[in-house]
Symmetry: C2
Subunit: 665 residues, 2 copies
Amino acid sequence: MGEALDEYMKVLLDCGMKPQSEIVAVCDSAGRITAEPVYAAICAPHYNACAMDGIATLASYTVGASEESPVVLSPEQFVRVDTGDLLPDGFDCVVMVEDVVFADGTGDSSSETGQGDGSPVLRSTTDRENRPRCPVSCTITATSTPWKHVRVIGEDICAGEMILPSNTEIIPSALGAMIASGVLEVQVIKKPVVGFIPTGDEIITPVANPKPGEILEFNSAIVSAMLKKWGAVSKVYPIVKDNKELIIKALKKALGECDIILLSAGASKGREDFSAAAISDVAKILVQGIAMRPGKPTILGYDGAKPVIGMPGYPVSGIIVMEQILQPLVSFLSCATRVPDKYIDAVLSRPVKSTAGFFEFTRVKLGFVKNVVIASPISGGSGVVTSFMRADGILEVPQDVTEYKTSDKVRVRLLRREDEIKRSIVAIGSHDQLLDEIGDLLQSGQGDGSPVLRYTADRENRPRSPFSLTSTNVGSMQGIYAIRKGEAHIAGVHLLDEKTGEYNKSFVNRLIPEGGVTLYKCVKRKQGLLLAKGNPKGITGIGDLLNGGIRYVNRQKGSGTRILFDYLCRRDGIDAAAVYGYDREVYTHMSVAALVAAGMADAGIGTYSAAKMYDLDFLHISDEVYDLLIPDHFLELPSIQALLGVISSKEFKNRLEKLGGYIVF
Amino acid sequence: MGEALDEYMKVLLDCGMKPQSEIVAVCDSAGRITAEPVYAAICAPHYNACAMDGIATLASYTVGASEESPVVLSPEQFVRVDTGDLLPDGFDCVVMVEDVVFADGTGDSSSETGQGDGSPVLRSTTDRENRPRCPVSCTITATSTPWKHVRVIGEDICAGEMILPSNTEIIPSALGAMIASGVLEVQVIKKPVVGFIPTGDEIITPVANPKPGEILEFNSAIVSAMLKKWGAVSKVYPIVKDNKELIIKALKKALGECDIILLSAGASKGREDFSAAAISDVAKILVQGIAMRPGKPTILGYDGAKPVIGMPGYPVSGIIVMEQILQPLVSFLSCATRVPDKYIDAVLSRPVKSTAGFFEFTRVKLGFVKNVVIASPISGGSGVVTSFMRADGILEVPQDVTEYKTSDKVRVRLLRREDEIKRSIVAIGSHDQLLDEIGDLLQSGQGDGSPVLRYTADRENRPRSPFSLTSTNVGSMQGIYAIRKGEAHIAGVHLLDEKTGEYNKSFVNRLIPEGGVTLYKCVKRKQGLLLAKGNPKGITGIGDLLNGGIRYVNRQKGSGTRILFDYLCRRDGIDAAAVYGYDREVYTHMSVAALVAAGMADAGIGTYSAAKMYDLDFLHISDEVYDLLIPDHFLELPSIQALLGVISSKEFKNRLEKLGGYIVF
């Protein structure tokens, strides 16, 4: 992190906060950290316990006993015992039942039926100590020694012995050790309580159908989940309006109840951002605005021993602030040993720019393609919560670096396990909802018709396939480039060759002349104009897009749909650039449909399935071929085999039918 | 695992059990696994949202605006907006507040005070849409483009888009993505419910002062903690007496309420072990007794789609059965991706024997000494719960291996993180309680007088030292051998040279003639005879141990205390072998004290601190020197430096004073 920020963190960590402790029942203490050493209250075992089912006797009685020369014990020379019984007074060893035959024929065989035999037995617990001894003699076939098969008092733990030192995570077996040694309560480090105060006039508690201008408050859910993972407790306060006095009131309440306070949103310098003013009223402000991106508008302060952090409302900024600033504070207070971050070396698929002087956190997708790790920066501002959800790692760009170039080697902090990323099929290219459905079927193991049931040596058994699919929607042309550069396993392509009327083949031949790739037939799909329900603008074809007041929404350059539109315009002699909205680019069929449905555009080209999803009118233009481009050397990969299995499965056909507008080959 | 057991596991996994699902609130869903794909209910953003504080206007009004040639907008050409506001109708972009100056002087500067200015503003939410516009004009110094600083509807997520596929772990940011797209509830895989039925007449619910023969039921605590870690839920049933009918009743109840049933104890063939009989009454038994150690007496069965497992009552056996048999079943039902086990290559410090045909699990301590990982098998049967708690790893001995020799290279499955093991100081040698106190001070960071407060580049800041101490009590001689073989960082030694009356030096010179080691002065401690309170047997010295009826308890060969006793006997002309109990060896002072306190021995040699702990009479024999033997090349290690810091700390002296009988050098 930046040096300046490190200094602020040192001040915060040094503001006087201290880990607190509390007493919890041992049975609830797993995963907690001991606040002081734990000493055994009693010995374990706390009495001389028989360690086997059999008889208690004196070792001296057993001398010389063997299979060949068994020794007979009279009834007063032994008592029958079970594992865990108190070794009766006057005896010093146990002979196990397998080496004993009772004169009445009971013994090992009787116990196998588990019926019990009703014969009197001297047992361990107090109320049984007066029971009569076994009335018959027995024969033993093994010599014993003093204390054999006896768990002597204190054998495991002696009273007064230290069971656990301070600052130790309590693992499940430690619960057993504590209880066995009479420790039923334990002093542990208190989980830090972090107060979260959401603010903003536009913020509302989540509802299913928000009105325009209402923002669903979801930061508290993210923050609470992160805190729980770190062993802290969140206390989420009601949403506070953009009013300085109300915010101060909320801060004061939280300062009385929590160890660290997060004030969400209002940290930048907008006209209704009262955070700085409110925080300065209750706390000492260390800094307003830090050299970190996302997260720049963060405010750091403290009141006595309690850090107060004003954090940006944008979720990605918020998550980065949580990771970089809150986690060190929480792990200090919780005494938790932080699992060290894991990094991986990767090759950048696109350049990354960074602002000089800022420590930047770029979300990247990672793909293992041909044993090289490819890092693809995820676009989307700090308001785009999916950019974090979809990220496999974070590229941390130091303050003195302003640019990484394509193919630069970088170190990426992992957000997922490496083995999970390794099992992922990387799809880069044209978007279609069917890719998501393939991913789902792959992951749920339904693709090949039945749940995969495996019990393998690595015990990774589960009712699903181990593979997943991660797709980046950049259009058909970029997909072909990605395959050529070895950045993807598969690419969805649907590129119409105007001259031949054929799809894909000529593009691939031209862009990958060396070959070695296969165009795997996936589906045909209906493409057409997406129009508002009932077609209020009366659009009957591409030509009408030039009519006054018609707003078109286009797809990005290099996408098959964009190329289709350009072709249609040329074919019909339309000046594409004259179409209002030609420059307005979105990246998926769904985005086109969403904008038309919202009345923000009157027309756009997209798939039938997108039209159906948004209940739009659909003017059919063509049935286009959507192929998957796959390098030949990937075809034998188990993951690609599983993917091809999914594509040919009945369940996949069912899903396509539900989406609508697809023709399966 | 063994082949036969693998077959049984396949049968169990195939018995028909299936992951179940349930609906939970999204805010409670972190860490859960999706049971079906999650689709967005609404777009995110669900309206065109201003992405900056500033003004909403039309891009066409802003053409040409720059610092050099500002453009003036009349009041009807813009409205003031804040981040998150609905973009007002008729506008297509936002100019950020930094590029705007209002004619009334408000703007960026006013907002910094956070006071608001009372001027009317068109705001986002419905009740504000009719507010009048800003009454003054403004000047802008930047040109905008359509949709600049606007988060267009669906920019992040389009309604209908798949947010998460099935079988995906829900990470914190995914909560944000779901809520933002109007998904407030989610179908997740139900946590498997595992019923645990403890049985046994001698088993009782934990109490502080159990009577002899009463065993505290702690398996349920261990099992519950393990299940929680694996994402399952435990349902612990009341303790059932050793009665077949009662056990059957409990099994039937559990079968009606749980997905998997564990019947604890009674799985072997003792006379009161009814497990097999009871399980066979309610379920089909697959096998009784498996080729695994610990865990041999396990019973595997199933009723319909519900596995029923009879597990041994000994905690170590139970934990191994949980790991090897239960965890695969739980991870199948929970659809959780199991984190792959981690292994490490190690060198064995002692031989390990295994029974042919059995898959054996040997608990080992691991130490990083001179960059070599040393694995030391932990002694103690499967009843010794501390053997699991103290283990750093498990040596899995395959069925066809019957022996590993000292110095054999083995692979060890890690139970702790490698970095934690690396930070651990390995102490092998003579036991003294002060080692535990050193470990505690080391871990709590109190040793050097003040809590260690560090904020380092790896963010491993916490109020404690990163080091810990792990000690194996094998006696002084074994400690010197361990140092010589490079298996330990330090060894506690207290060996009296009869000829010189000096401690330790001559032994070290003889056993490590090449030198390169330092005897670090630690303490002097009082050794003496530990006698029952009030000395009922009237023992006045070593000579009285030969008196009739006096039971002595000895320490193990090679321990300094044993050597002291042998010396004392020789000195006083006593035939040590004639002392009753000379062959009865225990490994620590505390064990000696515990046996004397329990009336199982009348005398033993031990430290004053052990006598004090057990409130025993103490007959002083000598003040002996307890040194720490440390190889010179370790003295500069940060961990050893920290340890030496602890030893010279005031807090350590306080602790010794509390223990009693120590003289600090």
